[in-house]
Symmetry: D2
Subunit: 323 residues, 4 copies
């Protein structure tokens, strides 16, 4: 393999740039020509592709976002779109791909391989940490720390006013972000899609806290919780407890940005290099991951279909630590 290309796709995550850098520098080290594709599959279809060298990735290690830009592509879901994408890759002579992204990205790559035989190795980039095949995804540690710093700030004002705050963090299908930022932030309750916590449970726990003279409380809610979003849950609790002073904060997109943490920079560098060297060694349709500090490759199929459960130790801790 003499020419390969790298792209980012789906929601951006801090550390994607560190990963791109590792792919590019690794390719140069192994004397392979490396191209960047802008805007994910959309750019592949349009031929928004350029040659990269060592300086293309200077001084990006510490930056949030992705210098290759990202997008969700409707066109790549069509046969015509994928046909055009293949033609563009042919034009540039690109023989293999490194895809940095999540579920949707790898689903696309899988179909693309079946149709056109272009081998892809993936690196998991998503703040949700909801991918099977790796202990952590690129961006997760940064997003947890961002959420945590926000919770720390809210705790200051919650304490000053003896208030209850509901804080909604990202995580449509996974409570990883909620549980870790909840433990780190000393939340009294964490509501995640993986477990069933009803508004009635919340009300009970808050009442118990008052009996123990807790004056303020933080409840962290994953956006995908089955009991509703933070606003809905807060409304029910407010009515039941007749406490008008409760507040809701939805952290939103700040969790997607920011300079990556040390752990994310190291992880992204390892996964970028791992994906590249995997591709050069003949891996395809697999995602590079780190499990128990070792580089592993898992088929896209498994990554997409299998579930990564939350460590039950973490769920148990929330209850014990808020006594």
């Amino acid at each position: 393999m003499k020419k390969i290309a790298v792209f980012t796709s789906g929601g951006d995550a801090p550390g994607m740039n560190a990963c791109i850098r590792a792919v590019v520098r690794g390719a140069i080290y192994h004397q392979v020509e490396i191209y960047g594709i802008r805007y994910g599959y959309n750019g592949m279809i349009k031929g928004d592709i350029y040659h990269m060298n060592s300086h293309s990735v200077s001084n990006i290690l510490q930056k949030g976002g992705t210098i290759l830009k990202s997008a969700r592509s409707q066109d790549f879901r069509t046969k015509e779109g994928r046909q055009k994408a293949y033609e563009q890759l042919q034009k540039f002579g690109i023989e293999g791909l490194i895809a940095i992204g999540g579920d949707g990205t790898f689903t696309g790559a899988n179909i693309f391989y079946e149709e056109y035989g272009v081998p892809t190795v993936g690196a998991p980039g998503t703040i949700d940490n909801d991918l099977y095949g790796t202990d952590y995804t690129i961006g997760f540690d940064t997003a947890v720390n961002t959420a945590l710093q926000a919770i720390d700030k809210i705790r200051d004002t919650a304490d000053s006013h003896d208030r209850i705050f509901f804080i909604e963090v990202m995580g449509r299908d996974s409570g990883y972000l909620a549980i870790q930022s909840g433990i780190g932030g000393g939340a009294e309750i964490v509501m995640v899609p993986e477990t069933r916590t009803s508004s009635a449970d919340v009300i009970n726990i808050l009442k118990q806290g008052w009996n123990r003279k807790k004056t303020s409380s933080i409840i962290v809610v994953a956006e995908g919780d089955e009991e509703g979003d933070a606003l809905q849950i807060a409304d029910k609790v407010k009515q039941a407890l007749n406490d008008k002073d409760m507040r809701v904060t939805i952290l939103g997109h700040i969790q997607r940005g920011g300079s990556p943490t040390a752990a994310d920079r190291t992880l992204a560098s390892r996964l970028g290099l791992g994906a590249l060297e995997g591709l050069l060694n003949g891996e395809k349709n697999k995602m590079a991951g780190i499990i128990n500090d070792k580089l592993v490759y898992t088929s896209f199929k498994e990554c997409i279909t299998l579930q990564k459960p939350i460590n039950p130790d973490l769920l148990r801790m929330v209850e014990i630590l808020s006594v």
Copy 2:
């Protein structure tokens, strides 16, 4: 004056603790007995008052929130409430008060003096910077930096996806926070209560930006803007431009918390000491402020009724710098 008390009231602001510390340490330095009142006027009414010494304020300089807790008091608005408050102060032998807070706090202190003759000197503590009589209020610089760091993070993801973001910052009556975080964050548009920017203006500016190949934009909206809140404005713009990809983030209560910045710690220390020494020197019903780096005292009446305008240089800059 041999015994005085300090309290915080209204919305909490980072730096209030630094201010309390300066009041307490200053009192000890001047050999005056110092008491703390918890929960603002509510605690005054209930007699939630305790003796403070140098160690009471150790290691609080860097903390957000207020160790004296804060509250908005309905009871102090009644004659009965104020009567009880006066009796409590009498019981403890407290001859003067230091009030750290904003508009509402000083309004209460003013009435209290007229009725019972208890002298109060105030220190301006509010993240909104909307008080006449001081260039900056305690907590404003920290809140601006918190908003700015959030905007920086959102810019990362806005750039990666070529998206438009509407970011709502606090400021019901004042655009200070919005204008400073907008300039610092490189916002294309800043919408503040002090000036009239319509949704049609926003649409025009965004279109002009596209003509100059701007791919992403940040619009900062003060929560009190007369055109509506961020969600409402975004809805109008979305429809007019038929761009479903716009996003809204409401920063909310994270702006109230956090460790105070250097400027807020210094300002809070100066104002705390200034309020204390003013009270000891016979000032009353006045707020300590810093104008042009000099300590000044302004009557509560003026602080409450007069408006502090935004520097027009700042408003002009947003337009020029986003070309």
Copy 3:
């Protein structure tokens, strides 16, 4: 076991407070009486011991340092010292200990058990991550991020002036902190005790960089590197390259402080709870650790004597990523 005590010893590390909190709250949850010992073994000897409850550990989760204070104890190295310590524990009726610290702490606990039969379970708290028996120690992740943020700042000025910087990070016996902050900071060279990098190697790599038009470089040096400290190495390189413009920064004690990261808060909470529940379940003379995301107990003897090697993947990465 009905009464136990917790203490911190040796160099402090961010997250120790989160660990103390988990021990205390865990003890309350399991209905065991919990005492705190101040100043490590010194406080044990002097009887500086107090009863703790749930509120003793409120609002400390996010704080650096240790509320139980720490010290290195000369007296505990003597038979007389340990005799007095034992008597104090007897006086309070304390039947078991949780020790948060490193090598020296566990060595002391081991001897103490042999002499007096007091069972101890340890939790690894040290920024150096140099303990066998756990993947990570409490405080390491925070220290890496602190070092990294410093390196990011220095990179700004290094780039602006095309300068070479030598940055010394902590780590007398271990290069963990250096290698992770070096990878995260995009260092061209990382010098650690575990591998041999001579000044001549440094000079060669810098020259190669200049050939590739690198204009600035960061060299991270672990304080315990066998080639000398950062000042000594910089002197040799300066002379050899006749470049007077090189700079040295020794990060020093800032690496020990600061609010713990999310990863450190979670780790500290798990290890605190794990140590406590281990002690209650009959473990003794062992350290709680997390290996491959699972709680394990390793004998103090092994923790003290065995070496934890640096992952060679990380050492290899520095070379590849700086091309």
Copy 4:
């Protein structure tokens, strides 16, 4: 004036990029052609000059350092050097200059005008805040906050071990950085070039603190203090008090880097625009500054020769607040 150029010179400071951006965007707004000169006067001599447009300064507002690079120029101190620089400007048709820097930068610009009549307006960029003609210089607020965050971290470990720390901050000729970070960091003593504090004074204050049961202390030392640097002072105090446990940390170059604070971004933007509009309006050999929130122009001569004293209120506060 139809063509102008901007450059940065001397030590870099956070916010220089925000200033460059304001100059460039302001020039475009006023329909003037704008060039960038790399590496200060050195680049002027070598003709390292390029045309800038609006995109040249996209996404640099939040970055530390300077995209135009900086240098101290020996060659510009010679007649030959300045002659060459003039010829380069002639070649590009550049009629006026914006210089972002400090003392040395403006001294050079002054001579250059006298010899060749090229008008320059300056913007004060230095973390030391030691320039007459402006309340604050670009980079000062960021450097204070960086120093403060380091002091906060050191305070954690100082408290945990009951230790005394000497912390050296930058400031060869000025104690601004030391006094503000000292007040913000709750330092017991601040040693600055502007006042005389002897080691004997330090020893006395520490002893008084011990009498009041202070267990740990922070002493902030400006690098230019007449009593010596932090290491020398610490040595004297150590010997006199026979306390081997004292520690010294020299913050060093981390104070020069980092993303600028909100205040620095706003200040830099105002000064950049102010310098530009001044130049276009016929100002020359003057520095733009902000005094009492108003834009003013002060002759280079005054900026270089006159002293800006530290507000005595600040010096007095350190003593009172550490009781």
